[in-house]
């Protein structure tokens, strides 16, 4: 376990380093920089002022120096200044994290609450009408754009209650906040639960084909015992990895859903920063997302190694 942990941690650091380079390069693909955009929109170019702004933002430095500064800053918790608000980027990003985290947790909760049991039922009742219905539901869940689902939910609320469930910054107590957030979380979670359901179903089917299941049946174990004592226990293992896949999957849904429901979280903030070309914010936010995804996957791998000794030994 020790060597596996060390190897896996080193790999994680390497991946994060690679991501930081990738993000940095992606944002500087196009010729020109923020100052060109500022002056483009102003309609005239004042060379002296442009140079001054470039110097202030550190854009006159070679690209390697710029990258070095960013990483050194990251290590110290200094993310630079947002171009638009001129506040420290960290003060813009940190306060927006809790809302998104709550939303993501709720969505994940919904997706596992519905996805895992329905996936198991679908696998156990393979090729029955119930299985077909559940499969069509999960496939349509993957086919609906989550922002459209969000709009439909808004529409249903307006139609039946005449009220739009828009998030307020001070919802009172935690329970009220959770109630308000559960509506957008359902929009994100529906898509995710469809994914969880499909993955659970195929992992359960995989297990049901194993020899030890046949053995259990041969020795006369009841269907319930085979399905739930023998199969489900082993099928749950791969389901843990789903949470890792989910991490990346959920973020896509959060970005559009926060925009639809006007929730002031980090995901919507990323879109705004991209629109304003606020590179310090974009750069740090994308890095933050990557860190979340990588760390979640690392934790998932560790959990998996604890649960399944084969992984550790193959290392």
């Amino acid at each position: 376990m020790g060597t596996y942990l060390v190897r896996r941690s080193l790999l994680m650091v390497l991946t994060l380093f690679g991501i930081s380079v990738l993000i940095f390069v992606m944002l500087r693909l196009v010729p020109g920089n923020i100052t060109d955009i500022i002056f483009d929109s102003a309609g005239f170019v004042n060379e002296r002022q442009k140079k001054k702004i470039e110097r202030e933002l550190g854009l006159d430095q070679p690209i390697i120096t710029q990258y070095g500064r960013w990483i050194a800053g990251l290590a110290k918790g200094d993310l630079g200044y947002a171009y638009v608000s001129e506040k420290p980027a960290i003060d813009e990003i940190l306060p927006r994290i809790p809302v998104t985290a709550k939303l993501a947790a709720l969505a994940l909760f919904f997706s596992i609450l519905f996805g895992v049991p329905l996936g198991v039922i679908s696998a156990v009742r393979q090729d029955t009408t119930l299985d077909y219905v559940l499969r069509i539901i999960s496939l349509s869940g993957l086919s609906l754009p989550s922002f459209w689902l969000g709009l439909l939910i808004l529409m249903a609320f307006v139609h039946w209650t005449g009220w739009i469930p828009i998030y307020q910054s001070s919802p009172g107590n935690l329970w009220k906040e959770i109630a308000l957030l559960s509506i957008p979380a359902a929009a994100v979670g529906f898509r995710s639960s469809a994914l969880v359901m499909r993955l659970t179903r195929s992992s359960m089917l995989e297990v049901l084909r194993q020899d030890y299941i046949r053995t259990a049946r041969a020795k006369g174990a009841s269907d319930t015992s085979v399905n739930y004592d023998h199969a489900l226990r082993n099928a749950v293992l791969p389901v843990v990895t789903i949470i890792g896949i989910e991490a990346a999957f959920l973020i896509g849904g959060l970005i559009v859903t926060e925009t639809v429901f006007n929730i002031p979280g980090v995901a919507r903030f990323l879109v705004e920063a991209i629109r304003w070309r606020d590179y310090p914010i974009v750069q740090n936010l994308v890095m933050f997302i990557a860190v979340v995804v990588v760390v979640v996957n690392f934790l998932v791998d560790m959990t998996y190694a604890v649960l399944d000794p084969r992984i550790r030994y193959e290392g």
């Binding site: 990738l22 944002l27 496939l139 709009l151 529409m155 999957f249 990323l270 879109v271």
Partner: protein
Amino acid sequence: MANHDHALELEKAGANITGRLSSLAFLARRYPLGAIGGVIMVVFLLTAACAGLTGLDPFTTDARSSLARPGGEHLLGADFMGRDVLARIVFGARISLAVAVGATVLGCFFGVVIGLSSGFFGGWFDLLVQRLIDIMQSLPLLVMALVMAASLGPSLQNTIIAIAIPLVPSVARVIRSNALSLREMPYVEAARAVGMSEVRIAVTHVLPNTLAPLIVLGTAQLGSAILVESALSFLGLGVPEPHPSWGRMLSESAAEYVRSAPWLVIFPGVAISAVVFGTNLLGDAIRDVLDPRQRQ
């Protein structure tokens, strides 16, 4: 090999297959959901191909029919600028098709080149590619496409590129693992024994055998390319005006029209969902046909 298995199964089932058409009919009966997906895709392709013949006009604005209700002159209503929603949906099929096919083909091409060379030749190049794939897969598809689209600037072509790049790693990974196992096949050894060059072996012997998983993956990518395009355009960072993109139609009409003009929200979303649903149904059926090991 995968194809062979299926032909055998057909024979065993006593299917009376005389030609392509009757084998298609057999498959349609065997995979009813896939057949529904196929029908949806055919309708989608025909809509995109024949958009110009319908006499519909997605561009003309008309102040008098601003936000016109569905029915009468505008079957599915009109948007704020008085443009016909049906016409924009019909012409939007072209944009969705262009983006889906363009991004998938581009993504698969680079994915195959990278996956094949890294899996077949191995060595330090393989190690490098694997790490690069890890890195790219740590960024969610939409985030990567958003950043790419923003730094490339809004245009149809750039949207296609921005969606294609995040598709590359998953294709490369699948092709790589296939190439790894194909590398050990006896016929590769035989080709080597008769003195064929490595590159030629890779192209003539390994590449054709990765076709089945590539088709399966490609169909799945079509749907996600359409979804990502619609999300990008919805956020205003995808296909620019005046192209009638389905996602863009929703952004114009987003939350504010939920109350006053629900038809602007409902119809484009139905179009996106139906087409993606079609690709997913078809994709599942194609996977079952081409890759019986994964059949569920």
